[in-house]
């Protein structure tokens, strides 16, 4: 007896939710927002499930990425963009620590952040990233370039490394 749509959905959620939460956490910077984003995304894909159930990954990721960027425009996320990061202690935390990376990501505009996460964490190609965000490949390229430049400023250790190691991803 073939599995019902709900069974397939539950199976997908059970298997892929941890990965989605990790991506969402990078996109939002907060655990609660990440849970909210993933939950919203999964609820939103249910009406389309019958059509995407054979290969839901790409569609789910697209909804997740677009929710993350469009919600910023409606200012529903709790994040606030500040002009300056808080001063670090003299001995300061490690500039490549998770806190510093998270702060640096939050300093990026949502779309640049999404581009970085999709390209460098989810390991998507430029074309796949463009499709997920609904933008052109050129936009992905320029947003990537701008985001990396900004991150190099915020995370000096990135600038010190070889560019190829920074951009060690598929093109």
């Amino acid at each position: 007896m073939p599995a019902s749509d709900s069974d397939l959905f539950e199976e997908f959620v059970a298997g892929r939710r941890p990965a989605l939460l990790r991506t969402a956490f990078l996109l939002t910077g907060h655990a609660e927002d990440a849970e909210d984003l993933v939950q919203t995304t999964l609820i939103k894909v249910v009406p389309k499930w019958a059509r995407i159930k054979d290969n839901p990954e790409a569609y789910v990721r697209k909804v997740l990425a677009r929710e993350a960027t469009t919600r910023w425009r409606t200012r529903r996320w709790r994040e606030t963009v500040v002009e300056h990061l808080p001063d670090r202690e003299a001995t300061g935390p490690d500039p490549t620590s998770s806190v510093a990376v998270r702060d640096a990501l939050l300093r990026l505009p949502p779309r640049q952040r999404a581009v970085i996460v999709l390209r460098y964490y989810d390991d998507l190609t430029e074309r796949e990233t463009a499709a997920a965000l609904g933008v052109s490949i050129g936009t992905v390229k320029s947003q990537t370039s701008d985001a990396l430049a900004r991150l190099r400023t915020l995370i000096p250790d990135l600038a010190a490394t070889d560019g190829t190691s920074v951009a060690g991803f598929r093109g």
Partner: protein
């Protein structure tokens, strides 16, 4: 390096979340809610569009009253100012016999033009008359036949050598429109530069008197010519060059009386008879300079140099103005019977319209026929028809109003759908 940093940060991601089954049920509920909202918004939009269409259609529709005999003719108890957005005969078809014509501005999507509105003798309906090739600047020169069946009008079109820099249409002939069938009979007299200074006067329902000259320059015409056009045979009978139909009056049953220079009574076959008649008061609105009885023995006219004034009635061979009738009138329309005359009575100093009254020529007593007459063409042979309260003509909106309202409805519905589907998704 960046990839490593991101992977390290991602390890801090939460791992919990609502049970998958609960997410599925919420997703289904959201989908249902979204569908219901979508259907509701679309339904409301459709209802609004249907209501808008219905209101627009009702505005343009003409209420046709039940008549004792559908072929009967009626004189409306009141005339109305027509809406510039009334439909035309091109869209609603021929109107049937007309009791009157009214000149009125006609508007559409863009701009305004001079128009001619027909008033149905049967139903009292109003509609713009779409006269093929009509010279729009000369629509006020059109003439309604005494029985309301035909309209004579000037046509515009190509002429070999048109007068340069002349404003308005170049007239290349005339046509007769059948108000019942919609058929048009056109006549194109020979002309080099166009026809000018034309006049129509109906001898009877099938004989049209036409008087015109040949344009020479912007404002003058020569080679004056008058003729009788037989509608049944489509033949023309040239009248004597002495005859000037400008200002002539008709009895509607075959005779016309001219009042310029030597007065003559002209028959449809072109024969003439000299009479004693002078008329110096100009025509007012839809009146005639001189109203002649069906037997062509008496005439009635406004006495003096202008209107309003008193009406004089006399035998055609008698000298003078005849016996004045008590009362003040603006014009004479035609004879209703041996003792009653249809005439225009002023409604007030500042009122441009008139009342159509029946005047007893024996004592000047009047009886109201139609109020608010502001027309220039009337079917004089139908003036004896029963007077009836006809429905007011529709007053359609500008086509922009329903179009903009429909576009706004669609736009608002689309926006509401967009907002709703986004909200319902969360």
């Amino acid at each position: 390096m960046l990839t490593d940093l991101l992977e390290e940060l991602a390890r801090e991601a939460p791992t919990g979340g609502a049970p998958p089954g609960q997410l599925w049920r919420r997703g289904r509920r959201v989908a249902r809610t979204r569908r219901v909202g979508t259907v509701a918004i679309a339904s409301i939009a459709c209802l609004l569009l249907v209501a808008l269409g219905s209101a627009t259609w009702q505005q343009r529709a003409v209420e046709v009253p039940a008549t004792d005999a559908e072929t009967g003719s009626f004189l409306p108890s009141q005339f109305h100012k027509p809406s510039p957005y009334l439909p035309g005969t091109d869209s609603i078809g021929p109107m049937g016999t007309l009791i009157a014509m009214v000149a009125a501005p006609r508007k559409g999507w863009f701009g305004s033009t001079e128009g001619l509105v027909g008033v149905s003798a049967q139903t009292g309906a109003y509609a713009f008359l779409d006269l093929p090739d009509a010279a729009s600047g000369f629509l006020r020169e059109a003439a309604l036949a005494p029985d309301g069946r035909h309209i004579a009008y000037w046509t515009t079109g190509h002429v070999p050598n048109p007068v340069p820099d002349r404003e308005g249409d170049t007239i290349n002939g005339y046509a007769v429109y059948d108000t019942v069938t919609g058929e048009v009979v056109s006549q194109k007299p020979s002309t080099e530069r166009g026809i000018g200074h034309g006049v129509f006067v109906w001898f009877d329902p099938t004989h049209l008197g036409v008087d015109f000259g040949q344009m020479q320059d912007c404002c003058g015409s020569t080679d004056h010519r008058a003729m009788v056009f037989d509608l049944d045979s489509a033949e023309q009978v040239d009248l004597s060059t002495d005859i000037d139909l400008d200002g002539a009056g008709t009895n509607g049953v075959g005779s016309v009386i001219t009042v310029n220079d030597d007065a003559v009574i002209v028959q449809v076959d072109g024969s003439t008879r000299s009479v004693e008649a002078r008329q110096t008061a100009p025509r007012i609105n839809s009146s005639q300079s001189v109203a002649m009885t069906p037997d062509s023995k008496r005439v009635a006219a406004i006495i003096g140099d202008g209107a309003p004034g008193r009406i004089g009635v006399k035998r055609v061979n008698d000298d003078g103005n005849g016996d004045p009738i008590p009362g003040t009138f603006s014009g004479v329309i035609g004879w209703l019977d041996d003792t009653h005359l249809a005439a225009l009575e002023p409604r007030g100093d500042n009122n441009p319209t008139f009342d159509l009254v029946s005047v007893d020529v024996r004592d000047g007593s009047t009886e109201m026929l139609s109020r608010s007459l502001d027309m220039f063409g009337v079917a004089i042979n139908l003036l004896g028809s029963p007077v009836r309260d006809q429905p007011s003509p529709p007053h359609p909106w500008s086509p922009w109003i329903p179009a903009v309202a429909a576009a706004a409805t669609v736009a608002i519905a689309a926006w509401a759908l967009f907002v709703w589907r986004r909200r319902a998704s969360v």
